[in-house]
Amino acid sequence: MTRMKFYCDDYRCIDCNGCVVACKEAHEIPVGVNRRRVITINEGIEGKQKSLSVACMHCSDAPCQKVCPTDCFYIRTDGIVLHDKDKCIGCGYCLYACPFGAPQFGHEGIFGVKGVMDKCTFCAGGPDDTLSETEFEHYGQNRIAEGKIPMCASMCSTKALIAGDASEVDKIYEYRTAKRGGNTSLKPYGWEAYNNGK
């Protein structure tokens, strides 16, 4: 069965933050909330600097879903993890449970009260009517319904960020790793993080 996954190739990511900007622009995400972020280590050290674009990894056994007290998460048959903002109470438990720091909480109103959770939807919208205005307001674009891949992956200039069927993405990962002379038995960042703590 098809399972949608992201893969970010740290050998190709150049920390341009294009994916972050594309995501924010496409979904009209407010200031302070980043569904996707780019992390760089060893910045400025020649040969050692590496960057990685991180968002919700749409886990098969999503811990956010396990821990949610209002049961607002659901996993589609294609593996995309979505949530219902009308049910979310903004308690933040998903943030503690998530291995990737995906859940985001904006601050609303003049007192900056913590709002409900927002996260990467794999550009698949949410539980509202597909391609409706309400769905866009709550979750942003539903590009999957339009037959498109997520905005971040579609605009990545170096094709470091890939999104799609896990088996296809895995083939690309193995091809690239083998070409570099790497160990293809090691999985990409995040693909095993939840399972073995690495």
């Binding site: 740290d10 302070g32 909330v33 980043n34 972020r37 992390i39 760089t40 280590i41 060893n42 050692k48 590496k50 990685l52 991180v54 811990p63 396990k66 821990v67 007290p69 209002t70 049961d71 607002c72 219902d84 009308d86 049910k87 979310c88 109470i89 903004g90 308690c91 933040g92 438990y93 943030l95 503690y96 449970a97 291995p99 990737f100 720091g101 985001q104 909480f105 009260v113 913590k114 409900v116 090691l186 960042y189 995040g190 993080a193 939840y194 073995n196 703590g197 690495k198």
Partner: protein, 315 residues
């Protein structure tokens, strides 16, 4: 003067330590999945100001990237948070049921002390307006915190939505306001410390010396309240952005766990207090409002308070 044995003097402390020891042993040994070695080392790191959770330098580039992108040692604390969250939702009723059963057992075994009052007009002023204000604020806020706090657990039944969200926000605001009330009560709780008892200011705040059993309740109120105030305030204020996530998430996980643990313990001892002051003896709620208690009530239920009032010259 009647001399008491070590057991008589320290019975409350010993029984509390034994009870918590047994429960703690069962929980830590058979139920929790926390990496205690990591938590102890991490706590020591926190004491020197390092809250990142990275205890040893990363051995590989992979580990370095994981630490920077996702935060370190996910499997050390997070699975325990997930377990505890789920169990709070599913099993919290059993905890309350077990505690009520303990009180039922004690009630059946010891019965209820109902003081005989023949002179209802002979009243003694025990509580000052300031003390009553603090007590009522404490009662109101704790009720609100319990209801809104457990609302997070109960919202599964209400299917989330606006009301539970509002209650969750109210829990945070009330919690911040409670810090001041808890602090005043903590001063009251600490008044029995030898050095502080000599201070007239603390003697004035709350007269009366407590029995060991009541002192245990006060100690737990102060200690667990400190844990709740610290962890709650930090959780509210130390909210990570997407770029600071990896630096603070492990610290927040530990703070949430502290909040969970402290809330369970303080709830136990608050219920214990309710039992001790209103179930095992006939309470006098009116006294909390007026500050005055019948002299005969104090003579039979709280002679130590009456004694202290006499010593303080308020009688």
């Amino acid at each position: 003067m009647e001399s008491k044995t070590f057991w008589e003097c320290n019975k409350a402390y010993i029984l509390t330590a034994l009870g918590l020891g047994v429960v703690g042993f069962v929980f830590v040994g058979f139920m929790m999945i926390m990496d205690w070695g990591y938590l102890i080392q991490y706590t020591m790191h926190m004491m020197i100001g390092d809250t990142s959770g990275v205890l040893t330098a990363p051995a590989s580039e992979l580990e370095q990237m994981v630490n920077a992108a996702f935060g370190p040692a996910y499997n050390s604390v997070a699975p325990e948070i997930i377990r505890a969250s789920n169990e709070r939702q599913e099993y919290i009723w059993y905890v309350f049921f077990a505690e009520i059963m303990i009180f039922v057992f004690l009630y059946v075994k010891n019965g209820r002390l109902t003081p005989t009052i023949t002179r209802p007009d002979d009243m003694v002023q025990v509580l000052t307006p300031f003390q009553r204000t603090v007590i009522w604020l404490n009662i109101g806020m704790i009720l609100m915190l319990v209801l809104t706090g457990f609302n997070i657990t109960w919202s599964l039944r209400s299917d989330g939505g606006d009301l539970p969200r509002l209650l969750r926000e109210f829990h945070e605001l009330t919690g911040l306001a409670w810090i001041g009330v808890w602090l005043v009560f903590t001063v009251i709780a600490a008044k029995d410390l030898k050095g502080w008892r000599k201070n007239t200011l603390f003697r004035h705040i709350l007269p009366g010396s407590f029995k060991p059993s009541k002192r245990v309740i006060w100690f737990f109120y102060a200690a667990m309240g400190a844990g709740l105030c610290f962890s709650g305030a930090m959780i509210i204020t130390l909210h990570p952005s997407s770029l600071t996530h990896a630096d603070v998430i492990q610290f927040r996980r530990v703070l949430l766990y502290l909040h969970f643990g402290a809330s369970v313990l303080i709830m136990f001892f608050i219920l214990d207090f309710v039992y001790a002051s209103a179930i095992s003896v006939k309470g006098y709620l009116k006294g909390l409002w007026t500050g005055s208690y019948p002299r005969e009530y104090l003579e039979q239920v709280a002679p130590d308070v009456l004694e202290d009032l006499k010593k303080a010259g308020r009688q």
